[in-house]
């Protein structure tokens, strides 16, 4: 190759056939490379749909045996071979809801602090520290939750909640029950801690895209920092903020290990947030290696399919919302 480069122009002109064969070779190499990268790109596309189809295939026995009852009944009986997914579905939705109720305002606060409040020298280190939270493996959250946080919940937080919120008329039943420590509230709090870095870093990034002119105009009219944040920054970035929240929701719905440690793996439907429950991901993680019948395995894979569909929709909404802002930015 290098010798060919070294040839003087005249030498090539004397060998038109060599030149032609070389450009022929380049052409076919180019074509092969294009096919290679296109194939890799399509592989990414196919792998997602293959994942969905394989779980639909694996769960077909459960779907055809139980039909719609799979979604609406609460039986989870390995011996009687009757499976209904209502308890894990309920647990997944409730824990994710608790997580979002905590994480959204906190993340907004963090993003506000990092873009408007903190002195500039403090912003980068604090932002990196918060992002460090996202890097900690979820199994560490689970162990910390089980060994450290659950005892704190059962000795301090839950007795406080049952005595002060338990007697209330409407919300009361949510906070009644024995102080076990493990349960949906604990799982929701751990999930909130896990998704805060995702939501706050999206919010921070989009807050930084707000044109300075826009903010300065509001300041010039006499607005306070809070009024600028609430009336200028937030409306300008609304779609991306919603996208960030959905991104966090997608994480919260599919998180497995942390929830498995602190949720309690109980197949009962209870109104109380303090009682053990189950989530889709925790059920699969806990029971898959014990599943002894085909219909049991199939029911677990069917659960996985449900989880996949729900998170796909949530993440797709997140992505579309985030794209809306960046399109307006002209990217």
């Amino acid at each position: 190759m290098s010798t060919e480069h070294a040839l003087p122009a005249g030498a090539i002109a004397q060998r038109p056939d060599a030149l032609a064969s070389r450009s022929q070779r380049d052409l076919s190499a180019d074509r092969a490379f294009r096919w290679l990268v296109t194939g890799a790109g399509i592989f990414v596309l196919v792998s997602l749909f293959a994942a969905a189809l394989s779980m639909l295939w694996g769960g077909r026995a459960a779907f055809s045996t139980f039909g719609i009852d799979f979604l609406t009944t609460t039986d989870w009986d390995a011996v009687g071979k009757k499976f209904g997914a209502l308890v894990p579905i309920y647990g997944t939705l409730v824990t994710a809801a608790i997580a979002m109720i905590i994480a959204v305002p906190v993340s907004f606060g963090i993003a506000l602090f990092l873009t408007e409040v903190a002195p500039p020298w403090l912003r980068t280190p604090v932002a990196s520290a918060i992002e460090l939270l996202a890097g900690i493996p979820s199994i560490i959250y689970g162990m910390w939750g089980l060994f450290v946080f659950v005892p704190v919940m059962s000795t301090t937080v839950i007795p406080f909640l049952t005595t002060h919120l338990g007697p209330l008329p409407i919300f009361g039943p949510l906070f009644q029950g024995p102080p076990l420590g493990i349960g949906m509230l604990t799982a929701g709090i751990v999930l909130a801690i896990m998704v805060i870095p995702f939501i706050s870093s999206v919010m921070r990034e989009v807050f930084l895209t707000v044109p300075t002119r826009l903010k300065e105009s509001a300041y010039a009219l006499g607005s306070t920092t809070w009024e600028v944040a609430w009336n200028v920054v937030l409306p300008y970035t609304r779609s991306a903020v919603i996208g960030g929240i959905f991104l966090g929701l997608g994480r919260a719905l599919g998180e497995t290990m942390a929830v498995t440690f602190v949720l309690g793996n109980a197949h009962h439907l209870t109104a109380s947030l303090l009682m053990p429950g189950n989530s889709i991901a925790a059920t699969i993680a806990n029971e898959f290696s014990e599943a002894d019948s085909d219909i049991y395995v199939s029911s677990l894979i069917a659960l996985g399919f449900l989880l996949f569909i729900v998170t796909f929709v949530v993440l797709a909404i997140a992505k579309l919302m985030l794209m809306r802002l960046s399109r307006r930015e002209g990217n």
Partner: protein, 295 residues
């Protein structure tokens, strides 16, 4: 005469409104600072717990003794070995496909519907629950083969590596100035050679960062390994057999009632955390150095 008290009343209203807005502002910014402290509080608490319990459980025997049966002492040697083998294999499988797919997105499909669709799907894969990928590989490999295997575990992890590498390659190649492509192409160099010898070289630090981030992500990954590699109490280098990994052993031991298993679980958790955080810091340093070099 009546205008004077009116003006005074107006001034009083304006003053109270101003005071209310100021109060609101202080309250909101105070809450924002409190939210940040709230976030940092959990970070410190979790890291502190892991450090404290992990360091007290560290021992040289971790690295040369096998995972013990209930109630006995031992180490995590087979789990470390399994994690290293499966992670490296996953990187070896996921990285080349990821780089090629990222190249397709950045160089061969700008503004085409296929490229946009793949980028969209890749972003969803990036945040998709890993447990779902575990079930996918279970139906793809474990069920047909009839048994759990280290190879299936590595394939699952490769599916987690893939979207990370695709994303970073795509972004890093987009950062390469187009003059570089044009200069190379104007010399008559074929496009594949421009990509491999010019663009990859320029985007290399970024791509390495992506691979490191992917490594950090899979080294703590537990859930998908439960249905693919499972676990193995003994030293095994057979990729066709079940294989131990640190996160799965940590999960099994932490959920057990035995104190000796708990302390091994903390040691494993500590090692994984330190490894993941060190890798993330290295990745950050590479990005930071690159920024300085470009400025």
């Amino acid at each position: 005469m009546s205008a004077v008290p009116n003006a005074a009343a107006k001034a009083a209203v304006a003053e109270s409104l101003y005071r209310r807005r100021r109060l609101m502002n202080h309250l909101a910014l105070g809450l924002a600072s409190a939210a940040t402290l709230f976030g940092l509080f959990w970070l410190v608490w979790i890291l502190w717990t892991t450090l404290l319990n992990g360091i007290s459980a560290l021992a040289p025997s971790l690295f040369y003794e096998m995972t013990p049966p209930p109630g006995e002492t031992g180490g995590l040697a087979n789990a470390f070995f399994g994690s290293i083998v499966m992670s490296l294999l996953a990187i070896a499988m996921g990285t080349p496909i990821g780089i090629l797919a990222g190249t397709f997105l950045a160089e061969y499909s700008r503004r085409s519907w296929l490229g946009e669709t793949i980028r969209f799907i890749n972003d969803i894969l990036l945040s998709a629950p890993s447990i779902v990928l575990g079930l996918f590989v279970y139906t793809l490999l474990v069920k047909p083969m009839g048994h759990f295997s280290g190879f299936a575990g590595a394939v699952t992890l490769a599916f987690i590596v893939l979207p990370v590498v695709v994303r970073t390659t795509d972004e890093m190649l987009k950062l390469v100035p187009s003059q570089m492509r044009e200069a190379a192409l104007s010399l008559g160099i074929p496009q594949w050679k421009v990509t491999v010898q010019v663009l990859y070289r320029s985007a290399l630090p970024g791509i390495v960062t992506g691979v490191l981030l992917a490594l950090a992500r899979i080294s703590g990954e537990t859930a998908p390994l439960l249905f693919t590699a499972l676990n193995n109490q003994f030293w095994s280098h057979d990729l066709a057999a079940p294989m131990a990994s640190v996160p799965v052993v940590v999960f099994q031991y932490a959920m057990s009632p035995y104190d000796s298993w708990h302390s091994l679980a903390w040691a494993g958790a500590f090692m994984v955390t330190v490894f993941v955080l060190a890798i993330s810091l290295i990745a950050r340093a590479i990005v930071a150095r690159r920024k300085v070099a470009n400025d």
